[in-house]
Amino acid sequence: MSDPKISSTSEPSGNVTGASIMLEEVTKTYPGQKKSAVGGLTLEIPAGSIVMFVGPSGCGKTTTLKMINRLIEPTSGQIVINGEDVTGMNGDELRRRIGYVIQAGGLFPHMTVATNIAMVPKMLGWSKEKIAARVDELLELVSLDPELYRDRFPKELSGGQQQRVGVARALAADPPVLLMDEPFGAVDPITRQRLQDELLNIQSEVQKTIVCVTHDFDEAVKLGDWIAIFNEGAQLEQYDSPERILANPASEFVENFIGSGAGLKQLTLTRVNEVELLGTVTTTPGKRASDVLSQIQGAGRKFAVVLDSRGRPLRRLDRRQLSRAEIIEGTYDPDLPVVGEQATLNDALDTMLVASAESAIVTGPRDVFKGLITVQTVMEAIAAANASMDQDHEAPVGLNSGAINVVDIEQGSSSGESA
């Protein structure tokens, strides 16, 4: 029987492997169109951080993203990755060094999961053994059992699983930069939340530079270290941390974009791993139910959590269920209320409400059990979060030099100057 684990924080452990990206006066003008899709954008993306591009549809955020890996060639300006100007290099070679994830994963339906993931390493000429080992390692990283999923075809996976494989494929050659284009747009809200948590867990392990386009401001707040809010023509309205965008919207446009629920959005700012988790009794399949029952009675708990051999939660058993059973069962309960430790309190509350439960199980990287979070914890945390705001920090640079779309230069300048 394992000890109840209590965890409050999990600091990023790995080294930063991401690269910094610098867009310098990047412009994209399509032939036959007067207005630029992206007008003179200068943007600094710090190494190892997640930068979210948000804005209304057609604002140029996706165009900007695709110019970083040159799926769309910029009309003018430079893109510098880790100090190297990549504007002139071979596009295909550049893209092999940059991970790319699109909606629903963009998996090739006629290839197995393993073949999909192996695409880039193969192009880079890795050996067969190295590729096979890497595929398994990546499947583990995205919480898919290699034995089970390696040889499946995409259509045999759920939407969420396809998306995970998409992330694994993007990470295959260990690229320093990961570009994501509306990655979680095609899955249901619960799955989306889990995928977001998982992405944050993965990021805490790999520390890449991630640039992600979304139209969902909540997602931006949850995932982003920095958020860039764009208006038409990729005019930067504000580029700052989620906290300060919520606290100090730079313009009316940003205010409207955030929406009136900004107060409640504080819930999105605090993560589960920032609050104190509760411990509980855990057990493993095959144990005697009566032993477990006496344990939870001794500890004054309502239920025990069953973990598998890798410490991943399978199900909860309350006192009544335990008294009926003889041996602890190892079946997985798909309705188990689980949140990742990177999830926001908003997510946690959601999960509990959906499951009609007072508490939810918290998991860390690779779905390992961490502890419990309760409705009460959430409430207390909100109160605390509302009390403490405003910390000083330096925001990265972002502005439109706006050679063409001159109108918005003033508004588009970085709020970093006001910090």
């Binding site: 890996n69 799926l71 295909d92 070679e93 550049l94 893209r95 092999r96 060094r97 940059i98 991970g99 790319y100 699109i102 909606q103 629903a104 963009g106 998996l107 090739f108 339906p109 006629h110 290839m111 197995t112 695409m119 880039v120 192009m123 075809f153 995409p154 259509k155 494929r169 993007a170 570009l179």
Partner: protein, 242 residues
Amino acid sequence: MSAERRGLIFQLLGIAAAFAILVIWLVTADLTETERQTLDPATILKYTQQHLEITLISAVIVLLIAIPLGILLTRPSVRKAAPAVRAVANFGQAAPAIGVIVLLAFWLGFGARTAIVSLVIYAILPVLSNTIVGLQQVDQRLVEAGRGIGMSQLAVLFKIELPLAVPVMLAGIRTALVLLVGTATLATFINGGGLGILITTGVNLNLNVVLIAGSLLVALLALTIDWVGRLVEQLARPKGLS
């Protein structure tokens, strides 16, 4: 899937049964001397060989023209020309096959070569349009995903677009093959060889047995080619596609 498999087995059994009945009937029937000579197994085999030769040579030429053309017409730079090319191909098919064959004979003379040229004209459309449709229906996001992870345009074409277009393309190729086997029957009108000669001989000399045997053999050959096409379609369909 299993229904398709069953269909394949039924088709094969049906062809075999019909062929067996035809052979038994020919062996037991009371044939005149001329009929016996015309329906000599060696002769029939020769005609069948000629028939298949014309069909397969035309098919290979059709594939060599139509598939690269179809690929070309789906590339962004020349995509605009696709409707025009398809209209021309459509027109080629609207003209009656017998007319095309005879017209070309005026120009190129009699013989198998002319027959092959007209068959090619006649069968390009299904392969061409299915290649275009097959490539067009490939999800553009997959193409972009391929480019996005650093595959070259050529790699995307050969590893993603073409494999995903294979089912549609194969259906077009099968249609073309069936058209070719049937139309090759008309080659006999310009001395192009093939099984059609049994039908014309039967009609001209009023030999009903030859007429029936010839017609049935042509039909069975077409059904056999169709069967082979279906089999290939099943086997070559990329795994992972439903």
